[in-house]
């Protein structure tokens, strides 16, 4: 194998694929990236056995072939090469090493045979649809914070992506950790309607989010009951799905809450953040005391003091005191795009519904704390 290519092209592609490679591996070849030179150019591939990313890079192929080298090391090398450099990759005669050359720098890297590189046999992915990159980004970004990190309930360790029919076909993403829930939806793209409900693991969500940062307008998605694939331009990410049943989340969404509070999102978040400064430990509650047109936020920490702040708000229902984990409130506030956030409350022991006052399509449910 012998190829020459732009340093910047190689950096960009390696930046995408190398992150899949875990820093510590018990299987040596998983630390490597597969480099394959074919007629069409160069292809890079990395995997952790659950997730694989393949990216093709334009290159001048002098002779075809494939090998694998340590991914993080190759990335670090290429990063440090001079900008605008031409990089030459060449396997030595016996194929045991890869020669990396740029300008006056030469590196010889140990390789492992490409035949041993694992393949995430994707099989047939029968459900295909295309969606706007910004829509996919919205589905993931706004639900990701609620993914559970607690491993015994593994089926909550991802985003539940599924199609529903609710005043028109929708593609919906849901995540919950048992304390809060996020639900975001977009009109279902053509071809999505019949797809199975799937749970996309957290790591995959993170990688897709990163890839979306430099993606084009559109993303193609392919789904089977066990795998999902996203194609973003020249990058193809294929991932296993979480094999489990997502709980029936619809019944925890309180639709009948009748006390409506509308706040300026920025002011609200800033106030929550300010008063919670006095709580030194995680899991301390901020108390929301609501009365006509007024919201008082307070935190008491017997160790260090207390804080209160008053906000003028739009609230006309009967007075109510309710406590929330301040971090949870801030997480949700951060998802709200418009200026006004709307909270639908029932009582201090029941779930509260939060959403953007103007834009529809995203709702959040938060369970209170006892204060």
């Amino acid at each position: 194998m012998k190829v020459t290519l732009e340093r910047s092209e190689l950096v960009k592609a390696l930046a995408h694929v190398h992150r899949v490679v875990e820093r510590r591996n018990t299987i040596p070849i998983l630390a490597n990236v597969l480099i394959r030179a074919g007629k069409a150019g160069l292809e890079l591939k990395a995997t952790d056995l659950d997730l694989e990313i393949v990216e093709s890079v334009p290159a001048e192929v002098k002779s075809q072939g494939a090998t694998t080298v340590p991914a993080h090391m190759l990335y670090d090398i290429v990063l440090k090469l001079a900008e605008g450099a031409q990089v030459q990759l060449e396997t030595a005669g016996d194929r045991a090493t890869l020669l990396v050359r740029a300008g006056r720098s030469r590196f010889t890297l140990q390789t492992l045979p490409e035949g041993d590189f694992p393949d995430l046999a994707a099989g047939e992915l029968p459900h295909r649809f295309t969606l706007a990159a910004k829509d996919l980004k919205r589905l993931l970004d706004k639900t990701q914070f609620a993914i559970s990190t607690e491993e015994t309930r593994y089926y909550l360790n991802g985003i539940y992506l599924h199609a529903i029919d609710d005043k028109g076909a929708k593609l919906r993403a849901v995540a919950t950790d048992g304390h809060r829930l996020a639900q975001v939806e977009i009109p279902a793209p053509k071809g999505a309607a019949g797809m199975p409900g799937v749970i996309v693991p957290r790591k995959t969500v993170n990688e897709v989010q990163r890839l979306l940062e430099d993606a084009g307008e559109e993303v193609a998605a392919e789904v089977s009951p066990t795998k999902i694939r996203f194609t973003l331009g020249k990058t193809v990410l294929t991932s296993k799905l979480i094999d489990g049943t997502f709980p029936d989340y619809a019944r925890v969404i309180p639709l009948g809450n009748d006390k409506t509070l509308v706040v300026d999102k920025g002011e609200f978040a800033a106030a929550v953040d300010r008063v919670s400064t006095v709580s030194s430990e995680r899991g301390r509650a901020v108390k929301l005391s609501l009365s006509d047109g007024k919201l008082t936020l307070s935190v008491t920490n017997p160790d260090s003091g207390s804080a209160t702040e008053e906000l003028e708000v739009d609230y006309g229902a009967e007075a109510l005191d309710i406590g929330f984990n301040s971090r949870y409130l801030l997480d949700i506030a951060a998802q709200i795009e418009g200026e006004k956030a709307e909270l639908k409350l029932a009582d201090p022991g029941s779930p509260t519904l939060l959403r953007d006052k103007e834009t529809a399509g995203a709702i959040y449910v938060l369970m209170p704390m006892r204060v």
């Binding site: 607690e150 430990e281 899991g283 449910v365 369970m367 704390m369 204060v371």
Partner: protein, 589 residues
């Protein structure tokens, strides 16, 4: 008192089973009988590991010839006056011990009441009862048991070596001797010199003297007194400092109404009280006496009479945990003493309270002293002996003294009036932060996060109902559960401190622990583990240089903090070396 046959109905309610398992059980039953007979002195003689011979002689009430003949029959007893198994005030109550011994060994009893003309003797061999005959003996009773299990070689095989059996028999006497300081005991065994525990006065003083006799100086000098009453239950005794721990629970001497027991509720309470002071796998040394109305405790649970059932286990447990924790908090400012002189002078002086600090008569050796300052010029990298702006005048006579230097950026060297103290700064500070967090948890309660979807946890029905019974207590710890059918509980709220936690796993742990130990330890432990790791992060690390003022502040804070003698992991936070010990090291004494 006359011996009579128990009615059939009572017999059937007695916890049946093997009474005699080994020589130790024979010794225990015979000494208990002597105590029940009001003996003032008891002599126990062992030969051949107690398998060859056990002889117990007492100066108690003795028996008439007629009573003696009946006493070796099954279910014949002079105790249990109203046939009421629920208010037993004697150690024996079943009339089982003598016939059981007579069935498996050669039993001889010689006895005489104070006003009788002469003594009578009876022999029972392998269950065969011989005729009574006259004998010679002063008032009292002498019981001899020879050739235990002589007729049942199979059961002999289960015995350990003579040495081990002898040790177990001696242990049985020690336990009873602890229970009754007012009775004199003499113990004669082949492989050791005879021991006599003199009779002591009733009351706390006598009990302490007996404990010192039986348990030796180690526990006495490294223990704190435990005292507590709630409703009609009273607890007293000694609790060993956590630094004096063992790898098994054998050195936990527990008594209920003068009866030595190995009771789950009590053992669990001890474990809970020491939970955050000791590593798993280490057991504290304790000698604890519980006294309560005999009607509040059922002793008819186990054939060896070593288990009891409290009518209100929660009360007893709560009281014991509280009393132990209070006592340990009192005594915790000291670690185990290390020198030859076992009594920690800190504890002694501490008893007087802060006002009792004596002013030092010796001239004050401050940081400013020249010989110390000279170290600076040597440029020893990790011994910080900088001069503080102003040395607090009287810190030498504080228990942990005045900080003199920091060595290896890890240890503080402090000088006290009569010795020196070496403090592990990280361990000490971690303990301080931890105690503060723990106090905050106790004071503020545990904040609870409600769950969007209550978690259903399937359990054994008995476990589920045991948990639900404790629902109130659990909610105080931040866990709100409800009954959910016969074999499940519903978790509605979890401690917010634990963040996103595995509620089902937590509840299962709790249920298991509750069944075995009747305690909520797993939950408390998790909360404290979080507190603990937070305290570890917030603590001064080893390797950080401390200014003299900081060192002194740490010493003063340790003096004012409960349990400051050990870090969260049960290691000592400081050690003390007495001047006398130092002098010994140099051969000056």
């Amino acid at each position: 008192m006359t011996v009579r046959q128990l009615p059939e109905a009572v017999v059937n309610r007695i916890a049946a089973g093997e009474v005699v398992e080994r020589p130790a059980s024979v010794v225990k039953e015979l000494v208990e009988n002597a105590l029940d007979a009001g003996a003032r002195r008891i002599e126990v003689v062992l030969a051949g590991g107690g398998i060859g011979l056990v002889r117990v002689t007492d100066d108690g009430s003795g028996m008439s010839a007629a009573d003696l003949a009946l006493a070796v029959e099954r279910h014949a007893t002079s105790k249990l006056p109203d046939d009421d198994l629920f208010s037993v005030s004697t150690l024996g109550f079943r009339g089982e011990a003598l016939p059981a011994i007579g069935a498996v060994a050669k039993l001889s009893i010689v006895t005489r009441t104070p006003d009788a003309d002469g003594a009578s003797e009876i022999l029972v061999e392998g269950g065969k009862k011989h005729a009574l005959r006259p004998a010679a003996l002063g008032p009292g009773t002498r019981v001899e048991v020879r050739e235990l299990f002589y007729a049942t070689p199979a059961r002999r095989k289960f015995l350990k070596s003579e040495r081990a059996e002898s040790a177990a028999a001696i242990e049985a006497v020690r336990r009873l001797a602890l229970a009754r300081p007012d009775v004199a005991f003499t113990l004669v065994a082949e492989d050791r010199a005879p021991v006599t525990y003199a009779a002591q006065a009733h009351g706390a003083e006598g009990r302490h003297l007996r404990m010192a006799d039986v348990l030796g100086a180690e526990l006495r000098d490294n223990a704190v007194a435990v005292e507590g009453t709630r409703e009609d239950v009273a607890i007293s005794g000694l609790a060993g400092l956590p630094t004096l721990s063992r790898a098994n629970s054998l050195a936990q001497y527990l008594f209920v109404n003068g009866r030595p027991v190995r009771d789950k509720v009590l053992l669990g309470a001890v474990r809970a009280a020491y939970a955050d002071l000791l590593h798993g796998g280490r057991y504290p040394l304790v000698a604890l006496f519980v006294s309560l109305d005999p009607r509040e405790v059922d002793v008819n649970v186990h054939p060896a009479k070593t288990e009891v059932r409290f009518r209100d286990p929660g009360l007893v447990r709560g009281l014991l945990v509280r009393a132990l924790k209070d006592a340990l908090a009192q005594g915790s400012r000291r670690s185990a003493s290390t020198g030859a002189e076992r009594f920690s002078s800190f504890a002694r002086r501490n008893g007087g309270g802060a006002a009792g600090w004596r002013r030092s008569a010796a001239p004050l050796h401050g940081f400013a002293e020249e010989s110390q300052a000279a170290f600076d010029s040597l440029n020893v990298p990790s011994a910080d002996v900088r001069t503080p702006a102003a040395l607090p005048a009287d810190t030498l006579d504080r228990p942990l003294g005045a900080a003199r230097a920091q060595v290896h950026e890890t240890y503080i060297v402090a000088q006290t009036e009569d010795g020196l103290v070496l403090v592990d700064q990280h361990a000490a500070h971690e303990r301080l932060v931890y105690e503060r967090l723990k106090a905050a948890l106790e004071r503020d309660g545990v904040a609870r996060q409600m769950l969007l979807v209550p978690a259903v946890v399937e359990l054994d029905p008995a476990d589920a109902s045991a948990l639900v019974e404790r629902a109130n207590e659990l909610s105080g710890l931040g866990l709100v559960i409800e009954a959910f059918g016969p074999g499940a509980v519903l978790v509605r709220e979890v401690p917010a401190l634990l963040g996103e936690t595995d509620a089902a796993g937590l509840v299962r742990d709790l249920a298991e622990h509750m069944a075995e130990w009747d305690s909520t330890l797993p939950l408390e432990r998790r909360l404290l583990a979080v507190a603990s790791s937070m305290s570890c992060h917030g603590s001064v690390r080893a390797g950080r240089r401390l200014k003299p003022d900081e060192m002194n502040a740490l010493l003063r804070a340790m003096e004012g903090t409960d349990y400051a003698g050990q870090c969260n992991h049960g290691r000592p936070t400081y050690v003390e070396l007495k001047l006398a010990d130092i002098e010994k090291l140099f051969g000056r004494r």
